[in-house]
């Protein structure tokens, strides 16, 4: 893997979004991944609809939570995702209003990624942003810098927040993952969270996944 990589500089990442008062982080993590996959495999960066997943993904629980692996499956079964503009975000569940004709992207499959962080970095640099799930310990008060909580306090077994890794690198020799969150740009570093890389910090390597677009 290259020493550092940042898909924001390569056009594969849309602007930071805001899930509002809703536990829909899983939907933002997945749409962020599919946006990257569609860009890298079909050449167009589209901002995709999380509301469609909240309303139409019956395997998951909208604002009460959901799983990326279920969401990929739902996107496949539904026949694709509409854009953010066509199916805009409301922050609460409504009746499903999806129409296949309006779907602008589709996915063929989804895969689970390695738990080895070096392999994850190599995969990211080659294949695109990665959906991950982490323990959100400390994130309520995070302002900036590279977070590296003590392991007992940020256990990889207590995963409770899904986000998107868009890059990695080093700051003053401290390795980090650059993570796109969905709490708006007025949180963290303009909406981004930087987490220590290489130590399995907060379980960042335990639930890495991606859609596959042929």
């Amino acid at each position: 893997a290259p020493p550092e990589w940042d898909w924001r500089k390569n056009g594969a990442v849309t602007k930071v979004k805001d899930q509002g008062m809703c536990g829909s982080c899983w939907a933002f993590s997945v749409t962020g991944n599919v946006e990257g996959q569609w860009f890298l495999n079909r050449g167009t960066l589209l901002s995709l609809s999380e509301q469609e997943l909240l309303d139409c993904d019956k395997m998951d629980k909208a604002c009460m939570g959901g799983l990326p692996s279920n969401a990929y499956s739902a996107i496949k079964n539904l026949g694709g995702l509409e854009t953010e503009d066509d199916y805009s975000y409301q922050g609460h569940m409504q009746a499903c209003n999806f129409s296949a004709e309006k779907a602008k992207v589709y996915i063929n499959d989804s895969v689970e990624l390695s738990q080895n962080e070096q392999k994850l970095a190599a995969w990211l640099a080659k294949k695109g942003p990665i959906s991950v799930a982490i323990n959100a310990f400390g994130m309520q008060f995070y302002r900036h810098g590279i977070a590296h909580p003590l392991r007992p306090l940020c256990s990889p077994w207590l995963i409770d927040h899904a986000v998107l890794i868009v890059g990695y690198g080093n700051r003053s020799e401290v390795p980090f993952w650059a993570i796109k969150n969905s709490w708006g740009t007025d949180w963290g570093e303009k909406g981004y969270y930087y987490l220590h890389r290489g130590s399995g910090s907060c379980g960042v390597n335990t639930m890495a996944s991606s859609a596959v677009v042929n």
Partner: protein, 228 residues
């Protein structure tokens, strides 16, 4: 003092340090006196506290009184002080027998709760005003909270809610400090747009417990990069 519960010296009353707290209390005193010549060192008084265990570590939250020795040397202190009692709170992490001082707050013992006429503060911070924290801490907290309300455009329906949110905000500032002390990266923690939410509210509204409770659909493993 109440007898220590087995395995946890939890919420002890004041008194000589119970055996469980003796080690970390002595370590905290040693850190406090570091660099002081003999005869100028403070002495440990009463101790109370509790311990939280996690993994291989134990986190001791201690409150202790320290007796500063009389100070008659004008080169050391301007006014001769016969004897000064300090009330300190310490956080000591004990990992596999190795102690680490995470936080130390000391101040003169406050003998009575001052009534400075700022009801919103006092009534909203019942715990804090009983703490040995100085009055200017409360005033500072109120101004930080005011900045928070302005920055994030907060509105509260009633005065009671404002008081409640102020007290949540103040205790969150303390929580953020603890998280800061326990982070060995370069992250800075402090006031964010979520600083007036309790931990419970934040978890319920913004997080996704399903991620650890429910196994998702099984996906096959991606080939590694470079894998022929």
């Amino acid at each position: 003092p109440a007898p220590a519960q087995s395995g946890a010296a939890d919420a002890q009353g004041w008194g000589p340090p119970p055996p469980e707290l003796l080690g970390p209390a002595r370590f905290a005193l040693e850190m406090y006196n570091r660099g002081r010549a003999a005869g100028t060192r403070a002495v440990l008084g009463a101790v109370r506290g509790r311990v939280r265990r996690a993994g291989h570590g134990s986190l001791y939250s201690l409150e202790a009184t320290l007796e500063e020795p009389p100070c008659n040397d004008p080169t050391v202190c301007q006014l001769p002080v016969s004897r000064k009692t300090l009330l300190c709170s310490f956080e000591v992490l004990d990992e596999l027998g190795k102690h680490m001082l995470l936080r130390r707050d000391c101040g003169p013992v406050v003998t009575k709760v001052t009534d400075d006429g700022n009801e919103a503060l006092n009534s909203g911070l019942p715990l804090l005003t009983k703490d040995p924290l100085s009055q200017d801490f409360s005033v500072k907290m109120a101004s930080i909270f005011k900045n928070f309300v302005t920055t994030y455009n907060r509105t509260y329906q009633t005065k009671e809610e404002a008081q409640w949110r102020l007290s949540v905000f103040a205790s969150n500032m303390v929580r953020a400090q603890k998280i800061q002390a326990l982070d060995h990266g370069t992250a800075q923690y402090g006031v964010t747009k979520f600083s007036d939410l309790t931990e419970e509210e934040f978890r319920t509204i913004y997080l996704n417990p399903l991620l650890r409770e429910v196994p998702g659909k099984k996906m096959h493993l991606a080939k590694s990069i470079g894998d022929p």
